[in-house]
Symmetry: C2
Subunit: 182 residues, 2 copies
DNA sequence: AACCATACGGAGACTGTCTCCGTTTAGCAA
DNA sequence: TTGCTAAACGGAGACAGTCTCCGTATGGTT
Protein backbone atom coordinates (compact mmCIF):
# COMPACT_ATOMS: atom_id res chain seq x y z
CA UNK A 1 0.00 0.00 0.00
CA UNK A 2 1.27 3.41 -0.93
CA UNK A 3 2.21 5.78 1.89
CA UNK A 4 -0.49 8.33 1.10
CA UNK A 5 -3.09 5.57 0.94
CA UNK A 6 -2.17 4.29 4.36
CA UNK A 7 -2.19 7.82 5.77
CA UNK A 8 -5.68 8.43 4.46
CA UNK A 9 -6.98 5.07 5.54
CA UNK A 10 -5.76 5.56 9.09
CA UNK A 11 -7.17 9.03 9.26
CA UNK A 12 -10.59 7.87 8.03
CA UNK A 13 -10.75 5.13 10.66
CA UNK A 14 -9.76 7.57 13.37
CA UNK A 15 -12.41 10.08 12.37
CA UNK A 16 -15.02 7.37 11.90
CA UNK A 17 -14.43 6.13 15.44
CA UNK A 18 -15.21 9.57 16.83
CA UNK A 19 -18.18 10.17 14.61
CA UNK A 20 -19.74 6.76 15.21
CA UNK A 21 -19.44 7.31 18.92
CA UNK A 22 -20.89 10.83 18.73
CA UNK A 23 -23.66 10.30 16.25
CA UNK A 24 -24.23 6.56 16.23
CA UNK A 25 -23.85 4.04 13.50
CA UNK A 26 -26.09 5.99 11.11
CA UNK A 27 -23.75 8.93 10.67
CA UNK A 28 -23.23 10.09 7.10
CA UNK A 29 -20.21 8.52 5.42
CA UNK A 30 -19.69 11.49 3.13
CA UNK A 31 -19.56 13.56 6.27
CA UNK A 32 -16.88 11.32 7.75
CA UNK A 33 -14.93 11.65 4.51
CA UNK A 34 -15.22 15.43 4.65
CA UNK A 35 -14.08 15.58 8.27
CA UNK A 36 -11.14 13.35 7.39
CA UNK A 37 -10.25 15.73 4.58
CA UNK A 38 -10.71 13.21 1.78
CA UNK A 39 -13.26 12.82 -1.01
CA UNK A 40 -16.09 10.34 -0.72
CA UNK A 41 -14.48 8.28 -3.46
CA UNK A 42 -11.43 7.70 -1.29
CA UNK A 43 -13.52 6.55 1.63
CA UNK A 44 -15.55 4.17 -0.50
CA UNK A 45 -12.45 2.74 -2.14
CA UNK A 46 -10.95 1.85 1.21
CA UNK A 47 -14.24 0.73 2.72
CA UNK A 48 -16.81 -0.45 0.18
CA UNK A 49 -19.56 -0.49 2.77
CA UNK A 50 -20.50 0.97 6.07
CA UNK A 51 -19.89 -2.38 7.68
CA UNK A 52 -16.38 -2.61 6.30
CA UNK A 53 -15.60 0.71 7.93
CA UNK A 54 -17.17 -0.38 11.19
CA UNK A 55 -15.10 -3.52 11.06
CA UNK A 56 -11.91 -1.46 10.85
CA UNK A 57 -13.05 0.84 13.64
CA UNK A 58 -13.59 -2.17 15.86
CA UNK A 59 -10.13 -3.57 15.43
CA UNK A 60 -8.84 -2.15 18.69
CA UNK A 61 -12.01 -3.19 20.42
CA UNK A 62 -11.20 -6.86 19.89
CA UNK A 63 -8.34 -6.65 22.37
CA UNK A 64 -10.60 -5.16 24.99
CA UNK A 65 -12.96 -8.09 24.64
CA UNK A 66 -10.22 -10.59 25.28
CA UNK A 67 -8.87 -8.60 28.23
CA UNK A 68 -12.32 -8.37 29.75
CA UNK A 69 -12.81 -12.11 29.52
CA UNK A 70 -9.42 -12.76 31.08
CA UNK A 71 -10.40 -10.59 34.00
CA UNK A 72 -13.82 -12.13 34.36
CA UNK A 73 -12.50 -15.68 34.42
CA UNK A 74 -10.38 -15.18 37.54
CA UNK A 75 -13.47 -14.03 39.41
CA UNK A 76 -14.13 -15.94 42.60
CA UNK A 77 -17.74 -16.31 43.55
CA UNK A 78 -20.94 -18.14 42.78
CA UNK A 79 -21.64 -19.11 39.18
CA UNK A 80 -24.67 -16.83 39.30
CA UNK A 81 -22.68 -13.77 40.31
CA UNK A 82 -20.01 -14.66 37.82
CA UNK A 83 -22.45 -15.01 34.97
CA UNK A 84 -24.38 -11.84 35.77
CA UNK A 85 -21.17 -9.89 36.03
CA UNK A 86 -19.93 -11.29 32.76
CA UNK A 87 -23.24 -10.44 31.09
CA UNK A 88 -22.85 -6.87 32.23
CA UNK A 89 -19.38 -6.77 30.75
CA UNK A 90 -20.64 -8.29 27.52
CA UNK A 91 -23.47 -5.78 27.21
CA UNK A 92 -21.13 -2.89 27.92
CA UNK A 93 -18.67 -4.10 25.31
CA UNK A 94 -21.16 -4.37 22.51
CA UNK A 95 -22.91 -1.13 23.49
CA UNK A 96 -19.89 1.08 22.94
CA UNK A 97 -21.73 2.89 20.22
CA UNK A 98 -25.36 3.37 19.50
CA UNK A 99 -26.74 0.68 17.24
CA UNK A 100 -23.82 -1.57 18.13
CA UNK A 101 -25.82 -4.25 19.93
CA UNK A 102 -28.22 -4.72 17.02
CA UNK A 103 -25.40 -4.73 14.47
CA UNK A 104 -23.26 -7.19 16.34
CA UNK A 105 -25.96 -9.51 17.60
CA UNK A 106 -27.63 -9.92 14.25
CA UNK A 107 -24.27 -10.72 12.66
CA UNK A 108 -23.54 -13.31 15.32
CA UNK A 109 -23.06 -16.71 13.78
CA UNK A 110 -23.30 -15.37 10.22
CA UNK A 111 -20.00 -16.40 8.65
CA UNK A 112 -20.08 -14.12 5.63
CA UNK A 113 -20.99 -11.00 7.56
CA UNK A 114 -18.63 -8.06 7.00
CA UNK A 115 -17.93 -7.95 10.72
CA UNK A 116 -17.56 -11.72 11.05
CA UNK A 117 -14.00 -11.42 12.35
CA UNK A 118 -15.30 -9.41 15.27
CA UNK A 119 -18.26 -11.59 16.14
CA UNK A 120 -15.97 -14.59 16.00
CA UNK A 121 -13.77 -13.14 18.69
CA UNK A 122 -16.80 -12.39 20.82
CA UNK A 123 -18.03 -15.92 20.34
CA UNK A 124 -14.66 -17.43 21.18
CA UNK A 125 -14.47 -15.48 24.40
CA UNK A 126 -18.00 -16.45 25.30
CA UNK A 127 -17.03 -20.03 24.70
CA UNK A 128 -14.37 -19.67 27.39
CA UNK A 129 -17.05 -18.49 29.79
CA UNK A 130 -19.26 -21.42 28.82
CA UNK A 131 -16.40 -23.86 29.35
CA UNK A 132 -15.67 -22.36 32.73
CA UNK A 133 -19.27 -22.81 33.84
CA UNK A 134 -19.56 -26.29 32.40
CA UNK A 135 -16.44 -27.34 34.30
CA UNK A 136 -18.42 -26.58 37.42
CA UNK A 137 -21.47 -28.33 36.04
CA UNK A 138 -23.36 -25.12 36.55
CA UNK A 139 -24.75 -24.55 33.04
CA UNK A 140 -27.75 -26.26 31.52
CA UNK A 141 -26.54 -28.29 28.61
CA UNK A 142 -29.02 -27.49 25.85
CA UNK A 143 -27.48 -24.05 25.45
CA UNK A 144 -24.28 -23.15 23.61
CA UNK A 145 -22.14 -20.03 23.42
CA UNK A 146 -23.97 -18.71 20.37
CA UNK A 147 -27.31 -18.87 22.11
CA UNK A 148 -25.81 -17.21 25.13
CA UNK A 149 -24.61 -14.36 22.96
CA UNK A 150 -28.03 -14.05 21.41
CA UNK A 151 -29.75 -13.86 24.76
CA UNK A 152 -27.38 -11.26 26.15
CA UNK A 153 -27.42 -9.48 22.79
CA UNK A 154 -31.20 -9.31 22.86
CA UNK A 155 -31.16 -7.59 26.21
CA UNK A 156 -28.42 -5.26 24.99
CA UNK A 157 -30.44 -4.28 21.92
CA UNK A 158 -33.47 -3.48 24.04
CA UNK A 159 -31.36 -1.50 26.49
CA UNK A 160 -29.65 0.38 23.68
CA UNK A 161 -32.77 1.23 21.72
CA UNK A 162 -34.97 1.84 24.75
CA UNK A 163 -32.42 3.96 26.53
CA UNK A 164 -32.21 1.71 29.62
CA UNK A 165 -29.36 2.32 32.04
CA UNK A 166 -27.34 -0.33 33.84
CA UNK A 167 -29.75 -0.45 36.78
CA UNK A 168 -32.72 -1.14 34.53
CA UNK A 169 -30.75 -3.72 32.58
CA UNK A 170 -29.39 -5.74 35.50
CA UNK A 171 -32.66 -7.46 36.50
CA UNK A 172 -33.12 -8.62 32.94
CA UNK A 173 -29.67 -10.14 32.97
CA UNK A 174 -30.30 -11.88 36.27
CA UNK A 175 -33.34 -13.53 34.73
CA UNK A 176 -31.13 -14.82 31.94
CA UNK A 177 -28.55 -16.08 34.40
CA UNK A 178 -31.17 -17.86 36.48
CA UNK A 179 -32.63 -19.44 33.39
CA UNK A 180 -29.24 -20.62 32.23
CA UNK A 181 -27.83 -22.09 35.41
CA UNK A 182 -28.94 -25.17 37.21
CA UNK B 1 -63.50 14.14 7.66
CA UNK B 2 -64.45 14.54 4.04
CA UNK B 3 -65.42 11.44 2.09
CA UNK B 4 -62.48 11.64 -0.32
CA UNK B 5 -60.09 12.10 2.56
CA UNK B 6 -61.38 9.01 4.29
CA UNK B 7 -61.20 7.03 1.06
CA UNK B 8 -57.59 7.99 0.50
CA UNK B 9 -56.62 7.42 4.09
CA UNK B 10 -58.09 3.92 4.09
CA UNK B 11 -56.47 3.08 0.82
CA UNK B 12 -53.05 4.25 2.04
CA UNK B 13 -53.30 2.12 5.18
CA UNK B 14 -54.33 -0.90 3.15
CA UNK B 15 -51.44 -0.53 0.74
CA UNK B 16 -48.99 0.22 3.54
CA UNK B 17 -49.96 -3.00 5.29
CA UNK B 18 -49.07 -5.01 2.20
CA UNK B 19 -45.89 -3.14 1.49
CA UNK B 20 -44.63 -3.26 5.07
CA UNK B 21 -45.19 -6.98 5.13
CA UNK B 22 -43.50 -7.50 1.78
CA UNK B 23 -40.58 -5.17 2.10
CA UNK B 24 -40.25 -4.53 5.82
CA UNK B 25 -40.61 -1.41 7.79
CA UNK B 26 -38.04 0.47 5.68
CA UNK B 27 -40.10 0.54 2.51
CA UNK B 28 -40.22 3.88 0.70
CA UNK B 29 -43.20 6.00 1.72
CA UNK B 30 -43.34 7.77 -1.63
CA UNK B 31 -43.59 4.33 -3.14
CA UNK B 32 -46.52 3.46 -0.90
CA UNK B 33 -48.17 6.73 -1.94
CA UNK B 34 -47.64 5.90 -5.58
CA UNK B 35 -49.08 2.40 -5.22
CA UNK B 36 -52.05 3.88 -3.39
CA UNK B 37 -52.57 6.29 -6.29
CA UNK B 38 -52.04 9.45 -4.26
CA UNK B 39 -49.31 12.06 -4.13
CA UNK B 40 -46.67 12.00 -1.44
CA UNK B 41 -48.18 15.16 -0.01
CA UNK B 42 -51.42 13.36 0.70
CA UNK B 43 -49.68 10.55 2.48
CA UNK B 44 -47.62 12.91 4.60
CA UNK B 45 -50.65 15.00 5.50
CA UNK B 46 -52.50 11.98 6.81
CA UNK B 47 -49.44 10.45 8.43
CA UNK B 48 -46.75 12.96 9.36
CA UNK B 49 -44.25 10.24 10.10
CA UNK B 50 -43.49 6.66 9.28
CA UNK B 51 -44.49 5.71 12.81
CA UNK B 52 -47.87 7.36 12.49
CA UNK B 53 -48.55 5.23 9.45
CA UNK B 54 -47.36 2.11 11.19
CA UNK B 55 -49.64 2.93 14.08
CA UNK B 56 -52.62 3.01 11.75
CA UNK B 57 -51.58 -0.20 10.04
CA UNK B 58 -51.47 -1.92 13.40
CA UNK B 59 -54.99 -1.01 14.40
CA UNK B 60 -56.45 -4.37 13.43
CA UNK B 61 -53.52 -6.10 14.99
CA UNK B 62 -54.57 -4.90 18.44
CA UNK B 63 -57.61 -7.16 18.39
CA UNK B 64 -55.49 -10.16 17.51
CA UNK B 65 -53.32 -9.49 20.53
CA UNK B 66 -56.29 -9.52 22.86
CA UNK B 67 -57.72 -12.64 21.26
CA UNK B 68 -54.41 -14.43 21.55
CA UNK B 69 -54.17 -13.62 25.23
CA UNK B 70 -57.72 -14.81 25.83
CA UNK B 71 -56.85 -18.10 24.23
CA UNK B 72 -53.58 -18.46 26.08
CA UNK B 73 -55.17 -17.86 29.47
CA UNK B 74 -57.49 -20.84 29.27
CA UNK B 75 -54.50 -23.10 28.67
CA UNK B 76 -54.27 -25.99 31.10
CA UNK B 77 -50.79 -27.12 31.95
CA UNK B 78 -47.68 -26.30 33.89
CA UNK B 79 -46.73 -22.65 34.34
CA UNK B 80 -43.57 -23.34 32.37
CA UNK B 81 -45.40 -24.70 29.35
CA UNK B 82 -47.91 -21.91 29.61
CA UNK B 83 -45.26 -19.22 29.71
CA UNK B 84 -43.18 -20.66 26.90
CA UNK B 85 -46.25 -21.00 24.74
CA UNK B 86 -47.32 -17.48 25.51
CA UNK B 87 -43.82 -16.20 24.69
CA UNK B 88 -44.05 -17.87 21.32
CA UNK B 89 -47.36 -16.17 20.70
CA UNK B 90 -45.93 -12.85 21.81
CA UNK B 91 -42.92 -13.14 19.54
CA UNK B 92 -45.09 -14.15 16.60
CA UNK B 93 -47.39 -11.21 17.18
CA UNK B 94 -44.69 -8.58 17.21
CA UNK B 95 -42.82 -10.20 14.34
CA UNK B 96 -45.61 -9.81 11.82
CA UNK B 97 -43.41 -7.58 9.77
CA UNK B 98 -39.69 -7.20 9.51
CA UNK B 99 -38.34 -4.63 11.92
CA UNK B 100 -41.48 -4.91 14.01
CA UNK B 101 -39.85 -6.40 17.10
CA UNK B 102 -37.24 -3.63 17.31
CA UNK B 103 -39.82 -0.94 16.67
CA UNK B 104 -42.29 -2.20 19.22
CA UNK B 105 -39.89 -3.26 21.93
CA UNK B 106 -37.96 -0.02 21.94
CA UNK B 107 -41.23 1.92 22.20
CA UNK B 108 -42.38 -0.23 25.09
CA UNK B 109 -42.95 1.88 28.16
CA UNK B 110 -42.33 5.14 26.30
CA UNK B 111 -45.55 7.08 26.80
CA UNK B 112 -45.07 9.70 24.08
CA UNK B 113 -44.10 7.23 21.39
CA UNK B 114 -46.17 7.45 18.20
CA UNK B 115 -47.18 3.82 18.63
CA UNK B 116 -47.85 4.15 22.35
CA UNK B 117 -51.48 3.06 21.98
CA UNK B 118 -50.28 -0.23 20.56
CA UNK B 119 -47.57 -0.94 23.10
CA UNK B 120 -50.03 -0.14 25.84
CA UNK B 121 -52.37 -2.88 24.64
CA UNK B 122 -49.48 -5.30 24.48
CA UNK B 123 -48.48 -4.36 27.98
CA UNK B 124 -52.01 -4.70 29.32
CA UNK B 125 -52.33 -8.17 27.88
CA UNK B 126 -48.95 -9.15 29.27
CA UNK B 127 -50.14 -7.91 32.63
CA UNK B 128 -52.99 -10.43 32.46
CA UNK B 129 -50.45 -13.17 31.90
CA UNK B 130 -48.38 -11.90 34.80
CA UNK B 131 -51.45 -11.83 37.06
CA UNK B 132 -52.35 -15.34 36.03
CA UNK B 133 -48.90 -16.62 36.95
CA UNK B 134 -48.76 -14.66 40.16
CA UNK B 135 -52.08 -16.14 41.26
CA UNK B 136 -50.34 -19.48 41.13
CA UNK B 137 -47.30 -18.06 42.93
CA UNK B 138 -45.23 -19.19 40.00
CA UNK B 139 -43.51 -15.94 38.99
CA UNK B 140 -40.52 -14.38 40.71
CA UNK B 141 -41.63 -11.10 42.16
CA UNK B 142 -38.88 -8.70 41.15
CA UNK B 143 -40.10 -8.74 37.57
CA UNK B 144 -43.07 -6.85 36.13
CA UNK B 145 -44.96 -7.01 32.85
CA UNK B 146 -42.78 -4.35 31.24
CA UNK B 147 -39.61 -6.28 31.93
CA UNK B 148 -41.24 -9.42 30.66
CA UNK B 149 -42.05 -7.65 27.39
CA UNK B 150 -38.49 -6.43 27.15
CA UNK B 151 -37.05 -9.88 27.61
CA UNK B 152 -39.33 -11.49 25.08
CA UNK B 153 -38.87 -8.48 22.81
CA UNK B 154 -35.11 -8.84 22.98
CA UNK B 155 -35.32 -12.43 21.81
CA UNK B 156 -37.76 -11.41 19.09
CA UNK B 157 -35.43 -8.70 17.81
CA UNK B 158 -32.54 -11.11 17.61
CA UNK B 159 -34.70 -13.70 15.89
CA UNK B 160 -36.01 -11.12 13.44
CA UNK B 161 -32.68 -9.57 12.57
CA UNK B 162 -30.71 -12.78 12.63
CA UNK B 163 -33.26 -14.72 10.60
CA UNK B 164 -33.91 -17.35 13.28
CA UNK B 165 -36.89 -19.63 12.81
CA UNK B 166 -39.25 -20.82 15.52
CA UNK B 167 -37.12 -23.87 16.30
CA UNK B 168 -34.04 -21.78 16.89
CA UNK B 169 -36.00 -19.30 18.96
CA UNK B 170 -37.75 -21.74 21.28
CA UNK B 171 -34.71 -22.69 23.40
CA UNK B 172 -34.02 -19.02 24.02
CA UNK B 173 -37.57 -18.57 25.23
CA UNK B 174 -37.36 -21.58 27.52
CA UNK B 175 -34.32 -20.00 29.15
CA UNK B 176 -36.37 -16.89 29.78
CA UNK B 177 -39.24 -18.91 31.19
CA UNK B 178 -36.95 -20.89 33.51
CA UNK B 179 -35.34 -17.69 34.70
CA UNK B 180 -38.70 -16.09 35.38
CA UNK B 181 -40.49 -18.89 37.19
CA UNK B 182 -39.79 -20.24 40.62
C1' DA C 1 14.16 12.26 -15.18
C1' DA C 2 10.64 9.60 -16.97
C1' DC C 3 7.16 6.45 -16.38
C1' DC C 4 2.96 4.33 -14.75
C1' DA C 5 0.40 1.86 -11.41
C1' DT C 6 -1.81 3.47 -7.65
C1' DA C 7 -4.51 6.64 -5.35
C1' DC C 8 -7.08 10.86 -5.13
C1' DG C 9 -11.39 13.68 -5.04
C1' DG C 10 -15.30 15.77 -6.57
C1' DA C 11 -19.09 16.10 -9.85
C1' DG C 12 -23.12 13.99 -10.33
C1' DA C 13 -26.57 10.03 -10.77
C1' DC C 14 -29.73 7.94 -7.94
C1' DT C 15 -32.91 7.17 -4.12
C1' DG C 16 -35.69 8.40 -0.35
C1' DT C 17 -37.73 12.09 2.73
C1' DC C 18 -40.61 15.76 3.30
C1' DT C 19 -42.71 20.54 2.08
C1' DC C 20 -44.82 24.09 -0.32
C1' DC C 21 -48.28 25.85 -2.91
C1' DG C 22 -51.28 26.22 -6.95
C1' DT C 23 -55.30 23.43 -8.25
C1' DT C 24 -59.34 20.70 -7.44
C1' DT C 25 -63.41 19.23 -5.10
C1' DA C 26 -66.84 17.84 -1.44
C1' DG C 27 -70.35 19.51 1.08
C1' DC C 28 -73.32 23.07 2.27
C1' DA C 29 -76.34 27.12 2.07
C1' DA C 30 -79.15 30.04 -0.57
C1' DT D 1 -79.15 24.09 -9.15
C1' DT D 2 -75.80 27.15 -8.43
C1' DG D 3 -72.11 29.33 -6.08
C1' DC D 4 -68.97 29.44 -2.41
C1' DT D 5 -65.28 28.03 0.60
C1' DA D 6 -62.77 25.22 3.56
C1' DA D 7 -60.71 21.00 3.01
C1' DA D 8 -58.06 18.02 0.49
C1' DC D 9 -55.20 16.89 -3.35
C1' DG D 10 -50.80 15.94 -5.71
C1' DG D 11 -46.63 16.79 -7.78
C1' DA D 12 -42.55 19.67 -8.44
C1' DG D 13 -38.66 20.24 -6.18
C1' DA D 14 -35.45 21.20 -2.09
C1' DC D 15 -32.62 18.53 0.66
C1' DA D 16 -29.75 14.70 2.37
C1' DG D 17 -27.33 10.46 1.99
C1' DT D 18 -25.20 6.74 -0.87
C1' DC D 19 -22.17 5.39 -4.14
C1' DT D 20 -19.63 5.64 -8.85
C1' DC D 21 -17.06 7.23 -12.57
C1' DC D 22 -13.29 9.19 -14.48
C1' DG D 23 -9.95 12.90 -15.25
C1' DT D 24 -6.06 14.36 -12.45
C1' DA D 25 -2.20 13.95 -9.32
C1' DT D 26 1.54 11.52 -7.22
C1' DG D 27 4.56 7.91 -4.85
C1' DG D 28 7.77 4.64 -5.98
C1' DT D 29 10.65 2.46 -9.30
C1' DT D 30 13.82 1.95 -13.10
Amino acid sequence: MRADAKRNRDRIVEVAREVFRERGYDASLDDIAKRAGVGPGTLYRHFPSRDALLDAVMQAWVDRVTDATDKALVYEGSPREFLVSWFETYVALISLHKGGPAKITSAMGVEDSPIATKTRVLLTQTQRVVDHLRAQGALRDDIDALQLCRLAGGVAVVADQGGLDADATRPLLTVLADGLLR
